[in-house]
Symmetry: C2
Subunit: 452 residues, 2 copies
């Protein structure tokens, strides 16, 4: 008995070893294929340079819908379709912000209205600037000291966190709430210091929201060096600001998420890999999130090219409208529910096309521990942490339905230098870094397809 | 007895826990200080923009000697001195490479002579180009087919390795040996495809060497796209190349490594942290190795600023002449031996100012295992691998004397896009990535100073 047990254990370990050996070889094949023949980088160049930025509802977005459907077909998808999504239509239009000290002349400041913000309707709106450094400081201001004033929320992006997403999370409340907070006390508009890890003068846009039944006053962002200069000026004198902007919500519009898949050989249960196709209306939406789109298409292409036999359906979703509404993610989740499609797993890449370091896991402990047990396979590819963390904004409707969700976690050091700015361009993306993200997503989907 | 033992174990674990807690707090203090107040980035801007590249023996190098001595004083070194080093003096001068097909006119190619290479003495040297793709292919060529020809070693940098240093190591033999191999069979000069991970037209220089008693013929590098075009051309027709260059060795010259230290409070045993001050004569030597220099100075500054009590002497060494002779490292080792100075540990940063991922360890297993046992402290700073690997070129004389040596291992994806080129400029360095390297070196030296 003892001997038989020993032999069985030996056979089992040999099986486990050759299993792991086979996976290790497949990991290597995937990596070699993508690093040498991957198309994500040249496709990102095409998307960013020939289409450019693509806010929901814009012409650029519509072009990118056709473009990604075509790329999915070229990558070898069995089936490609568009999923209708009704998106909010926000437009920027012309905008300018000027300041002057008493007796001085107007000086133009580099700025961006925050996304979703209403403008001044093309009229000049001006008032004295009151600076606060934090929400606590703002809370202490009496309404009479805010009335008809411009509130400058000068809260700095913390450099102290090693993971820059924590600095972003810490400061994000200012972008979200500055306008409504200012309006509640009768202020005319809000200026925020950009959510930026860089020491430069680039303003960062991004979504803000209005509290219900609060007057919708404008909110704009200025870059870090402009914020520093304004702070210095305010120390010694009164400063008046004048805003003129045309931005605002222009209703809704139907558009599409783009979906392509290769059907499962064993069943039609679905594994989703995606990113969001829309971007803010400045720069080229290269890291945010052109990267996630071209990486997801690369996953599908690699399965076809290497002939990896997929048990389940592997589906690429290019989500519409992540930036200002998540209507694409919500519509996708709704459709999955209506059609009763079983989803095994979903992963999104929406943290930039930088070298991967980990995979964030939103799922039960059993599933998470199983993925963690594969860590040794991922280690040679620079992926070493598998933590319970936010997966991807577009995936929350799926996650809410119980679908295990994950996110690619790339190195975060450079992301918030360029996030939501004119500087988020193709030139900021490195070929190998981008491709390695696609490598890791393909490897993970290979393991999940095989084992779940 | 059992109770006493139990209590002792409990007290011991409490001691170990509070020890580790204390270290974890110190790690956090170091990180917060450097990420917020670190000067490495602005100092690198000063070094690269106001001095620029600094090949051994050049005016730029001499300026950088004075500059780094000054920066070490400003950082709080107790003592700063220059260590004389005799370095080879290589100069580039004017250079050009042209090609033509029969009946065609001369076309200029972007190129760089390899470092240490002799030139043509300002005369045109021309001949037919013969392309080989590997050393094996070259070995098969008969001498009569090489005689008076130009050999083009078109060996590509492998994209397949995840760590780009492996691709570099794989291709480096071509840069080192192309000239001597060509000379042995009577060829006129050698052209190599650059050791470059980028898909661009930037030529990469770097050191080559001549075998003794072989004629010193020139060797030059061309960028990847030029190499591809030349290959295409050679498929259908004969191509003649013409080189005219003035480079060559111009004897030797005395210069200096720069050293600064804070004396140990307990003893004067030495912990070295360093980088190399020289660079190639193109670009600005920003990643290679201005980064290592400013990071090393940051380590010293941080010890002083935070008042971390150093048991042992912490010494910054800005090594002369890593690129084409390692005379600085050799002289440093020699002086240590002559003075009988006990060295506990040495670390070099010479792999670029990118986000750190690991620490390479060249030392006995006991020491390596002790450092590995600190992995949990480093994990939150993105450092997760501690492998037996090359530490730093300047450290080999110390390592040969038995000094435990280490190297900072940053993310390697972008390094060989710009290594030894016009593109190795300040703009390619990210502030947070650079500073995090200094954080990790300071943390490691804090642990070693405390425990060794």
């Amino acid at each position: 008995m003892k001997k038989i047990l020993g032999t069985s254990l030996l056979l089992l370990s040999i099986a486990a070893f050759s299993q792991s050996k086979e996976d290790s070889i497949q990991f290597s094949n995937i990596s070699t294929e993508i690093l040498n023949n991957g198309k994500a980088y040249t496709e990102l160049k095409d998307l960013t340079k020939n289409i450019g930025h693509r806010l929901s509802g814009s012409q650029g977005y519509e072009k990118s819908v056709q473009w990604s459907a075509q790329k999915l077909r070229e990558a070898g998808a069995d089936k490609v379709w568009l999923q209708e999504v009704i998106v909010p239509l926000w437009e920027r239009g012309k905008e300018s912000l000027h300041i002057r000290t008493s007796g001085g002349s107007w000086k133009s400041l580099k700025m961006l209205s925050l996304g979703n913000s209403e403008g001044t309707g093309g009229k000049d709106v001006s008032g004295e600037i009151i600076m606060v450094r934090s929400l606590e400081e703002y809370e202490k201001l009496h309404a009479e000291n805010v009335k008809d004033k411009i509130i400058f929320f000068n809260y700095p992006f913390s450099q102290s966190y090693v993971e820059t997403f924590r600095g972003y999370g810490d400061a994000a409340i200012y972008r979200a709430t500055a306008a409504s907070l200012t309006a509640k006390k009768g202020g005319k508009f809000a200026i925020i210091r950009s959510l930026s890890s860089a020491f430069d003068d680039v303003p960062h846009t991004g979504s803000m929201r209005y509290e219900e039944s609060i007057t919708k006053i404008p909110a704009v962002a200025i870059g870090n060096t402009t914020a520093d200069e304004l702070e210095k000026l305010l120390r010694s004198q009164k400063v008046t600001a004048k805003l003129n902007s045309n931005c605002g919500m222009k209703g809704e519009k139907p558009t599409h998420s783009v979906i392509g898949e290769i059907a499962g050989k064993k069943d039609r249960n679905v594994i989703v890999v995606g990113g969001h196709l829309d971007s803010w209306d400045v720069g080229e939406g290269a890291h945010d999130d052109g990267a996630g789109i071209v990486q997801s298409i690369e996953v599908l292409r690699t399965f076809k090219k290497l002939g990896i036999p997929n048990n389940h359906t592997i589906r690429v979703v290019c989500f519409a409208n992540e930036e200002n509404g998540v209507k694409g993610g919500i519509q996708y989740g709704k459709t999955v529910k209506e059609n009763g499609e079983k989803h095994l797993f979903a992963i999104e890449s929406d943290a930039g096309g930088f070298t991967p370091r980990g995979i964030s896991l939103e799922m039960d402990d059993n599933k998470r521990n199983q993925i963690k047990s594969w860590a040794g396979l991922f280690f040679p590819y620079g992926v070493y942490h598998f933590e319970r963390r936010h997966s991807g904004t577009d995936l929350y409707p799926l996650h809410d339905m119980g679908v295990p969700a994950a996110g690619l976690v790339p190195d975060s050091q450079r992301y918030f230098d360029i996030h939501h700015t004119e500087e988020d361009t193709f030139e900021k993306v490195n070929r190998r870094e981008l491709l390695l993200g696609a490598v890791v997503m393909t490897q993970l989907i290979y393991m999940i397809d095989k084992n779940w």
